[in-house]
Amino acid sequence: MSASQERALAAPAHAMAPLERAIHGILAGGIVLSVALMATGLVLGVAQGSGLPRGVVALGELPHALAALWPAAYLSLGLIVLIGTPFVRVVGSIVVFARERDRLYVLITAIVFLVMCLGVALGKV
């Protein structure tokens, strides 16, 4: 074992602050849910012999498509969860900053969230 590896192993584990714990939890949760949904979609696709579908399911049709076990519906929802995770992360940060009474960062993070929503509404990338 090299000296640098030994140092790495001896590294003190980082104690996460509440903000870091919240963000870590939200992101890890988003990944697990998204991968589970995509895996379900892939398994359904193989089971039904349809292969990977082309095109996503529109939001409005999603509930009935999920109930009908369309592979595309599960893959679409998996992608939606993945895309939505950073939005949830920003909202989660606002909550933690509010709990810590950090008004400046509640404001800053709220602006980020509003601009994200504005960007989606305006349809600009």
């Binding site: 980082h14 990944i31 993945l82 349809g123």
Partner: protein
Amino acid sequence: MAFLAGVFGSMLGVGGGIIMVPMLSLAFGVPIKVAIATSIVCVIATSTMAQTTFVSRGMTNIRLGMLLEVATTVGAVAGGVTAVLVDGRVLQFCFAAVLVYVAWQMSRRGGDVTPVRTGVLEAAYYDPAAGREIEYGVRRTGLGFILSLGAGNVSGLLGVGGGAFKVPIMNLLMGVPLKATIATSNLMIGVTAATGAAIFYGRGYMDPYYAVPAALGILAGARLGPRVAVRLSTRTLGIIFQVVLLVFAVMMILAALGLTP
């Protein structure tokens, strides 16, 4: 390929759309809009997965990231305004020139910035390669914010996430050590990409046939990338970053000359 993109992107704090979009389009014959949508999903996957490692190790300066996100998101949304004023090809040449200049500046410096305690957005992280805790403060916050506005604006125009700009702004200008810079940039690119991806999904350009396998590959790669990055010496990491910047510059020039889709 997606696995490798995940490893590199998460190691360097960049999304890599500038390489991925032409590659998907040329090598796999993916329609350009679908290629962009796929690449944006990949950026989100890179950022989200890499952050589970960076945040749990205290590498990400979350407050700094949130502050600069205001600048990059506002800049990106305002991108359309600038598009009317400046020719896209001129911008692409300027972008390439800035990338080459930044790579040169980073190589001239050789090592990392010397961390200074400034009392502004101070943070500390443990660097396994150096074997010690690195404490630092942020310098020139105002100028960094203004340049981030510009970076967000240009990235909004050229359809690239702008990680390649965020890293030099934080590292060279604001005095944030390279590893903390990469982790923080990685957090920020997720926000811009999520906004873009939501729009592309709504317009029907998302194709699970490409997006799902790419996302799964990236997620696996981005689990490995940050673990490699924190162990590498800052010098090695810096050199890899400079090479990638030069590749980005070449891609931008090719795009400006109309040689890539």
